[in-house]
């Protein structure tokens, strides 16, 4: 049986009494060790979900459980030991005056002993290739460098759950792939649960499951195959389909027989190669 890490049960939330609900009747589960992507149009409620998951906000109605623990004012410190988060804007997250202090500060807050702390700081900064910037002020970094440091900060915490809120949106394409691969390795090795909020469909394709948000509600939940087969519906929601599916569609227009569920690039390359061998 898959173990539930996070449960949202009929959650309602609004930022103040006079504004509309940012989340309406939202229910879903996140399972241990999975990579869950959350996609949806701007303002659909994705970051609000993230902030509820680590107790920065509380539901107006409904309940949230993290590893069985109900989310309340009393449990938020325990919950923040379980759920680490990288914010959409890294500037909101920096507290230290140097890159290494900044990563260390998070660890101090979580009561990690000094020796261990130094190891973890170096280790996580190396993982995101920022070990050359130890003494630079975080606010004096380029956009992509800031995002790398913010990610190092959460990796160092070694929480069971990591939430990435558009955490790689300003990395160059190669850098993005590398950082996401690093996160994937850690996830696989340590059985970490990853929740990734993203507008990058090529990244979403690689998730185990996706939640599609629309106007504060869950539109649907499923595997990438299930979700991207919705094609036109996704486009109506302000989303899109990934490159490989676009190519498959056009190949069909030119009379090539290709199955519609070819989501992964390598899969499609292999398939075309096989077609070529049969000729």
């Amino acid at each position: 049986m898959k173990k539930e890490m996070i449960q949202f049960d009929r959650v309602f939330f609004r930022y103040d009494e006079n504004s509309p609900y940012a989340l309406k009747d939202v229910s879903f589960s996140v399972y241990e060790g999975e990579w869950l992507a959350i996609v949806g149009h701007n303002g659909s409620g994705k970051s609000t979900i993230a902030k509820l998951m680590n107790g920065l906000l509380f539901p107006e109605k409904g309940s949230i459980r993290i590893k069985g623990l109900p989310l309340t004012e009393e449990t938020i410190w325990d919950i923040r030991d379980i759920v680490g988060m990288v914010f959409q804007n890294p500037d909101n997250q920096f507290v230290g005056t140097t890159v290494q202090d900044d990563v260390a500060f998070g660890l101090e807050n979580h009561g990690i002993p000094r020796e261990e702390m130094i190891n973890r700081v170096m280790d996580s900064l190396k993982k995101v290739k920022m070990e050359g910037f130890l003494d630079q002020e975080p606010h004096h970094l380029s956009g992509g460098q800031k995002q790398r440091v913010a990610i190092a900060g959460v990796l160092a915490l070694r929480t069971d759950v990591i939430i990435l809120d558009e955490a790689t949106s300003m990395l160059d394409p190669r850098g993005r792939t590398e950082v996401l691969e690093t996160v994937r390795e850690i996830k696989n090795k340590e059985n970490v649960t990853i929740i990734s909020i993203t507008h990058d469909l090529e990244e979403a394709v690689k998730a185990d499951r996706l939640i599609v948000m629309n106007e504060g509600q869950v539109f649907t939940i499923g595997t990438p195959d299930e979700i991207f087969s919705l094609e036109d519906q996704l486009i109506q929601l302000g989303l899109d389909i990934p490159f490989t599916l676009k190519l498959v569609k056009m190949l069909k227009n030119y009379g090539c027989e290709v199955p519609s569920d070819m989501l992964q690039e390598d899969e499609l390359v292999d398939y075309i190669w096989k077609l070529a061998q049969e000729i």
């Binding site: 303002g43 558009e166 989303l239 190519l247 009379g255 190669w273």
Partner: protein, 290 residues
Amino acid sequence: MEISTRNLEFKYHVNTPFERLALYDINVTIPPNSYTAIIGHTGSGKSTLLQHLNGLLQPTVGEVHIGDVTIKAGIKEKNLRPVRKKVGIVFQFPEHQLFEETVEKDICFGPLNFGTPLEKARKKAKKAAQQVGLSEDLMDKSPFELSGGQMRRVAIAGVLAMEPEVLVLDEPTAGLDPRGRMEIMEMFANLQREQKISVVLVTHSMEDASKYADHIIVMHKGTVYKKGTPKDIFSSPKELIELGLDVPESIRFQLKLEEKLQQSIGKVTLSIDELARQISVYLKRGSTSQ
């Protein structure tokens, strides 16, 4: 209006222990009525270069010509107002340019600051909000009580409302949903063509760079590595990949496929449709040749 740089060098925190060389030997020209994309990996100097295009940063060596204003290293340029009016910058992080109480006031700030009467400024704000797909019920909200993508739209609208002659965009689509991204990129392109303004776009999307720009500047470790048309730049994909950059996904896919097939399937192409056509021709040609 033309912008050009001559032997531009820039160091952050000069003469302090934190001194850092961010740009050197930069000679670029942004012609009037053009669309330039700047690509390069993290930390290569793109944002630093952009901030020279309207005098936010002053070179530590060399000069920048912005229309008929020259900004030289070591000489304090007093009147930058005309430059700020003509060259509008959308920053990499939208929060860095939002500060008013309401979204509407924020978008009106530029026009008001340059002497547009209130009513007219509000009209411009309304139009700019529409251009970026910002719904009207957000106009009275605080810009800090918005989602990331909504903030991005406000920041872009604020610059559009100033009707600049040069529109400088630092990763303007980061944080936008796929539809917003496409619509706003199309809007910039139309604006560029119709108003004959110049657009300078920093982007990590090789697809956008190849689709929209007439010229591409490739930055690498603080200097210009290469300049050219999208065709020039992306026709040597291996070189870009060695630089740690990427190529548009259609080219990347074609390279992967050709490696697997151990054979070329045709010319390198930037369009998915053309790629699909070439693959289908390749598969059919195979069948007739055996």
